[in-house]
Symmetry: C2
Subunit: 330 residues, 2 copies
Amino acid sequence: MHIQTFAAAALAALIPATSASAQTPVEPPTPASIIAAAPAADWRAIDPADLLVMDLAPDREGQARQVIIQLLPPPFSQGWVENIRTLAAAHWWDGTSVYRVVDNWVAQWGAGEDEAGQSKALPAGIVPVPESAYVTAVRRGPEDGYDHVLTGRGGQDGREDIVVSRWLDPYAIGAHVAGWPIALDSEGDGTAWPVHCYGAVGVARDLSPDTGTGAELYAVIGHAPRQLDRNIAVVGRVIEGIEHLSVLPRGTGEAGVYRTAAEHTPIRSVRTGDALPAAEQPRFQYLAPRSDSFARYLAVKANRQDTFYKVPAGGVDLCNAPVPIRRMEP
Amino acid sequence: MHIQTFAAAALAALIPATSASAQTPVEPPTPASIIAAAPAADWRAIDPADLLVMDLAPDREGQARQVIIQLLPPPFSQGWVENIRTLAAAHWWDGTSVYRVVDNWVAQWGAGEDEAGQSKALPAGIVPVPESAYVTAVRRGPEDGYDHVLTGRGGQDGREDIVVSRWLDPYAIGAHVAGWPIALDSEGDGTAWPVHCYGAVGVARDLSPDTGTGAELYAVIGHAPRQLDRNIAVVGRVIEGIEHLSVLPRGTGEAGVYRTAAEHTPIRSVRTGDALPAAEQPRFQYLAPRSDSFARYLAVKANRQDTFYKVPAGGVDLCNAPVPIRRMEP
């Protein structure tokens, strides 16, 4: 069988992934067209210092494999995020590996333990984080109608607004804060927490009250395992290169750990973006949750009306409408 | 870095996948322990005739790659399912390939089109299926309280009960029918339809009113794309070997189609299970939705209380509680 790329592409486009809708002017908006039309004012820059750049060893064809992780902003999971900054600054992950991959679950990396059950020694400054840090207090915001969380950024009153989603979430009240999907148990005077969506990065841990240091991390490579919310620290999300983790062979040992060292994927280096030379620092932006563009994006995600769709869904779960993120030229 | 398998496994078990809980007798039930304890009476056999056995070419290490797909039972999507039986009987997929893979979306296979835009000729007996077949009528069941769908199996009155889930679904009313996750727009006198969960198999199509023949199929390899429900025909689900599709390299051509023929994964053969020699016919069972075991399974999926979990989720979406399926000795 021989397939020309153009012909196969024409067929394959029948299930649209994220194709733009430039061809037919009368086409109703799609998520892609809304993102493309969003004005510059609706986008926010991501500080390179809030990115982890993980270089895996090249693949069999010698192709580079870079995974870029955005770290959660204050006030979410900051104890673990600070540990992760310390580990990256110490080059702790360099020479470790991806050692566990479970289908529709996670890819996990770090140093694991040696034959004596000992972990690789951690750098100075790693601190234990209490389980109370899994959630964050929600402050009522009667002055402008927006509940918020305190961030400490820009002084004691630094805050980020909580933008509650009108779309039902089966686990909690869905919302967005500073470009992140966040769940709430109550609108005001309750708690908020980051959620496990596809690509979410979390902190592997032993049994409670241990919460993990951040040295062993995983990324979600399947359907959102929301049962882990508030039970494991979410510290970030893969914003580029998730396919370098999601295509890795599934481990056949206990709990999906690889049976042999040869199966591991070596990690060459992990750095925060600001530790790279200026020209190599990755630049990304996210679509601001309080923007009109974001509101339109969510509404269209919940009710597609472009040509391919005959029946709008009438809803969208928090993890099925990823916050739009785009890469910028440096 | 060197990691002994046992030590790494001990660490990796910190994020439990489907580990049983045999070690601590006082442990509250887990989904795995409930499945393990389910009595034989709570399981239903899957007819090998309702399975598609897809053999891909061996991988680079020469390992066999078999994907087993369960086809939807009546009354769901039967027009497409019948086409698929016709295609398998004609050995139509033999020599075709997996030609499109998109991360967190789908792996797609079949013959695609040649350079003249022509599809591989279809066997006799392939029939067009109308869009009305995306949904099925729900019958009220006042006589015993269970709404149901008519199957035609076992005569005109053949029926399958609809077991509505108490757990909120963001897209519809969640339910289970004959071991399948099903969505409803109303409890009785409305419609029911199969849903796109991880592993779901659907029928690629051109723009409406075309609904696809079933010759080009895809499997979901990411977060459940529920917006496709009622817009594309779901015809089955991968019940074994999904990892042979989910690890395939992502296509870099338009819409994720591979750029070169060399990237395609050849399909050696696709057969219904009953077309195989008796000794090779795969035997599976599913946990019956009306069983106590299934009710317990769903409740525990929604509220994990075993040692690893500190905060029960308080809910579970339809796709985050896959119907338990087990392989039996032939």
